[in-house]
Structure formats: C-alpha cells, structure tokens
C-alpha cells in the first residue's frame, strides 16, 4: 500500500483540531502532542469528545478544521486504510465469519506481507492464546475476544495504536487483570498507545500521561500522580478521585506558601500548587490526606476545628467519614484501618488536620461541584 505513510513514525501531533456536528462542537480547537512510545490516555465523561478525537486520528471521522500529524507526515485527510494507525474497537468488532487466525492475518494480508503465519503465531503467543487460532470469534469469551482484538491490531506494528474503551465490556476482575496485561504488552511491543476511557482508575493504572477532556477541550494533561496531587481545575479534582473543595481567601504569603483563611481557620498552601487567579481560592484536600481525631486532641499541620461526624461507613481497608463543618459543608475523610483504634462514631466532635504540602488551590470562581456529577455509571 502507501509506503510513505506506513513508515511514518514519531510523535502524534494534533493541532487546533475541531469537529462539529451541526451546531454541536464535539472537539473544540484541541492541540496536543502524544510522545512516541508512550501510553497516553484520553480521559473524560461520555460526550466530552474523546471518542470523536480518537475517530479523527483513526480516519473514521474527518475534522472540521485542524491537522493531525505523525512525525512529519500529515495524515489529516488520509483514508483509514492509508494510515499507520490501528484500532482496538469497543466491543472488539472481530470479523464473525473469519477464524481467529484469519482475523489477525487480515491486516497483514491486505498489505501483502509474506510471513503471515509466523507473525500471527508470534502475536497469538504474545496474548497467550495460540490454541484458539482455528476458532471463530463467537466461540471465545469476552476476555479472549479482547485479546484477539488487541492482537489483530498490534500484529501490524502501527505507528500508533488506538484503544476505544477496550475494557468496557469486561467484568471488574477481568478488567483489572487486562489493565496490567495491556500495560505489559505496550512495554513489550514499544508502540504508542492512545487509550480512550471514562474510567479514571483504568487511565491511572495504565497511562504514562493522561489528558483529561471536558466539553471538547483538554482540562489538564500530565502524569497520573500530577493530575491527582495537583489538579488545576475543579473538574479534574472531582473527576479523578474525590476532592474536598473549601472556599477560602489568600491573605498573605510566607516564603513558598500562601496563608489562606477558611472560615476563620488559617491554613498554609504551597504557592506551586495554587491555581487561583486572585485572592479568592478553592482549597482542595483529598479525603485520604485528612487525619481525623476527637476534638481537643493536639494536632499539627493545617487544622480545621469544630467538625461533627454525620456519617460513618466502614469498608474494610478504610473507614469513610462524612464530617459536617461549622460552615455547613460536608467534608469526606478516608482513614486507613491500620492503627488498631476503633472507628469514631456518628455525632462525635472531631478535629481534622493535614500536611500543608498536600493542599492544592483552585481558582475561587470555579464551580466546586464541576466534574463530580460526571462520574459515569459502571457499565
């Protein structure tokens, strides 16, 4: 086929990519660079434009404007079959009339590759299903079909492998196992993987870099740890894990930290983790970063007094508390059950504290609930 394009390699560069369907803008002026060889996740709620972005990279959707490059090659208007890109489809889209062997050989045969048998056998071994070569797709379990879909794509050694919610149809346990396996295979074959998902845990387990998408744009991009520890927007703070966001005012600065007043409490927040544009700030603390003690206990770090436990859920590894603060806000606190102390009870008066370095600050004009409603149902 087209040798120029199949030999294209390098970083994947999307610039000013836009896709509208009538009045609806699915992807809005999106620019991003996916480094060659990385495992990249596009994470966002349904309707955020991540699948449309993926389909444009695959060539299944034509951008309204903007360009897509792989290295120096512009692939924006290439047909899907001309691109050095392969896709693992949601629900796999295996060819039901072909054997597993022929499914995997499909791309190789189209490109007129000689040693089809050898390559298919190799990739079947990689996904550990060599004994299924002669079966038909409908004779395989969901997990097996998933692996064959992956094998069918990676056997072509594309410059870029796209995965569209690849684990969505598997049950939780199998999904966990496949997450680890996919990551391993990616390291093994060294291809660039772009993974689209609404499952933040899946993205965090596998990806080197995550781009969180919302309403057709990228909210924030970074390593899983970056995004989790230092979210820049309320959407990211709420969509990746859970966050307590408390209104505050930056009052003064103390070296590398800001001093923030929260309903009369003075707390400290590293400047490097503050994204407030002016004095008004949403102070963010992850639930597991809180320490919780009965009121009156001596505590260090940032301290919030006057809480009352309004709900307790014991979930084995941890206990989750809802604590009502004097300003009527419910805060979430996750406490590891590792100290042999029995959980506190509903109605107990408590003090919360945390290490100042765990504080992050969002712009005070943000909607503190953004992204928290966007958590999709498990499917």
């Amino acid at each position: 086929m087209t040798d120029a394009s199949t030999s294209a390699h390098g970083d994947v560069i999307l610039s000013h990519l836009t896709k509208s369907f009538g009045d609806f803008v699915a992807v809005d002026d999106l620019s991003l660079v996916i480094p060659e060889g990385s495992f990249f996740a596009l994470l966002g709620p349904s309707g955020c434009g991540k699948t449309t972005t993926l389909r444009m990279i695959a060539g299944l959707e034509e951008p309204t404007s903007g360009t897509i490059n792989i290295g120096k090659t512009d692939i924006t208007y290439q047909k899907p079959y001309q691109r050095p890109v392969n896709t693992v489809f949601q629900n796999y889209a295996l060819f039901p009339h072909l054997s597993i062997f022929e499914n995997i050989a499909f791309g190789l045969r189209r490109r007129g590759i000689k040693d089809v048998k050898e390559q298919v056998d190799k990739v079947l071994n990689l996904v550990e299903l060599p004994h299924l070569a002669e079966r038909k797709p409908n004779q395989l379990s969901g997990g097996q079909q998933q692996r064959i879909a992956l094998a069918r794509a990676i056997v072509n050694r594309p410059a870029l492998l796209l995965l569209d919610e690849p684990l969505g149809a598997l049950d939780l346990k199998l999904r966990r196992q496949m997450q680890i396996e996919l990551k391993w295979i990616q390291t093994e074959v060294g291809l660039t993987f772009v993974h689209v998902t609404h499952d933040q845990e899946e993205a965090m387990t596998m990806a080197d870099t995550i781009a969180v998408m919302n309403e057709g744009q990228i909210e924030q991009m970074g390593s899983p740890a970056d995004l989790y520890d230092n979210p820049e927007t309320a959407f990211v703070a709420n969509f990746l894990g859970q966050s307590n966001l408390i209104k505050g005012l930056i009052e003064s600065s103390d070296g590398g930290s800001n001093i923030v007043s929260i309903f009369g409490h003075k707390i400290s927040m590293p400047k490097s983790r503050s994204h407030a544009e002016d004095a008004s700030v949403l102070v963010g603390v992850r639930p597991e970063k809180f320490r919780i003690q009965p009121a009156g206990t001596q505590m260090s770090g940032n301290i919030l007094n006057g809480g009352v436990i309004s709900d307790v859920s014991y979930i084995g590894v941890s206990t989750q508390y809802q604590v009502e603060m004097p300003w009527k806000q419910e805060l979430m606190v996750f406490e590891q059950n590792d100290d042999g102390v029995p959980p506190l009870n509903k109605g107990d008066a408590v003090t919360l504290s945390w290490e100042p370095i765990f504080t992050f600050g969002l712009d005070g004009k943000e909607d503190a609930s953004a992204g928290s409603e966007a958590h999709p149902d498990e499917d």
Binding site: L94, R111, A153
Partner: protein
Amino acid sequence: MALVTARLNRKRLWPYILLAPGLIWLMAFFVTPIYQLLTTSTQTPGVNIGDYIQTYRFANFIDAIVGARAQFLRSFEYAFIATVLGLLISYPLAYAIAFKSGRWKNTLLVLVVAPFFTSFLLRTVAWQQILGEQGLVIKVLRGVHLLGATGHLTATPFAVVAGLTYNFLPFMTLPLYASLERIDPRTMEASGDLYANAFTTFRKVTLPLSMPGVVAGTLLTFIPAAGDYINAELLGNPSTKMIGNVIDARYLRIVDYPGAAALSFILMATILVMVMLYIRKAGTEELL
C-alpha cells in the same frame, strides 16, 4: 417417583404439542397432495377423457421431459436471469436502506413491501401497460433509437424476465436487508482500519457477512420464478412459454393429468437438487 416421571413425560411431549398444528397442516396440504401427485404421475388414460388408471407407467416421466425440454430449460434460464437481475437491483437498495437511509428507513421498507398491497395478477397486467405501445418506456427507447419504429416490448422474452424480476423483488430485498442490517458497522470500520479499501471491505467483510441474505433472497426468487406461469402468460408469446404454462395447459386444457403430475414432480425434484447443491456451495463460501 411416578410423579417425576409423569412430569418428565409431559415435558418431553411439549415440543410435539407445539409442532402439531404445523404438522397437521403440512400433512393435509403438502404431503397428501404430493403423494397424490406421485400416484397420478404413473397412470395411463382410461376409456373416457379424463379417466386414468394406475398402471405404474414410469415412462410418463421420460415422455414429459422429452415433450417439454425447451420449456424446462427456458424456465430455469428466465428464473436465473431474473434472480441475477433481482440481486443486482436489490443489493444496493437493501444496502442503502440498511446503512444510509437514516430516518427514512421505515418509509423505504414500507415502499419495498408496498407492491403486496395489490394482487400479483394486477401488477403483472400493469406491466402490459408499462411496456405497451402507449407506454413511456417504449417511447423513450424508440426516441433514443434503442428500439426500431416497429420494435415492441410486450410479448417478448424481455417482458417476461422484466415481469419476473419485478414481481419477486421484495422477496430478494427483504432477506438481504435483514442480513445487512445485522452487520455491526464497526466490523466494516475495522476492515478499513486494517488496510482494506472500500472495495476490499465489501468483498472480504460485507458480502460474506450478508451471504445468508443473498442465499435466502436468491432462493425465494429463483424457486417461485422457475415455477411461475403468470408472467409468461400475460407478458410473453407462444415461444416464451415456461414450464408452469405447460403444466397449466396439461391440467386444465389437455386434461393430461399424469403428464402434468410428472412435470410438476420433475420440476420440484430438479429445484430441490439445485437448491441443495447451491446451499452446500454457499455454505462453504465458494460462491464468492
């Protein structure tokens, strides 16, 4: 224990109870007539016209074939052409309805079935008008000189095949649509993703996956078309007679019951054998 056995027995009986109405129907209206057909086919004339006595004359079959060889061949030829034409017309139509019609899907499906709202006979008569001297078709064809000034379309093989093609089109379109509609469009996207262009995708994915519809549609067209006599009667001439016309004439005009029965039986057996060979080939994807 006895109770369990009784319940098991009742469970085992259920399928038969459910099958009973259909089986009785088939016995009364298919197996019995076929048996009668077979017995009639070996009878020879008695004293009066219309009287036949059983003499087990199997030579009736040979006589029948020899006498109607041309019409037999013509029937299969016309039916074959009508089936191929039907497939060529219906496949794009069914494809468009299944994948490209959007909100017009149901409307288009109703339109496909719409001819059934009038009788088969009336529709065929209508074709006499369509292809007739005053019709638009003949004027256009004469206008572009595809047809001479004295050329005509009615009472030609063309008219018979056109009628057959038209009349069985819904039987071709609906099974094709049903099997195309069931194809996951993502398998076609996957094919494109795996370096197949549009034509290869059609050849390697869409067409093989729609084979059940192709087989069903072609059978539902070919079988009734091969036995049809209305189209040849209304749109043809004496040299376009099909086997259906021969059987019709032997039964109702010549009153040669054994001859008609033998022909019917041969027609049925031939179609059965052809269908079996066809399905076996289609099943192994050799038809592609």
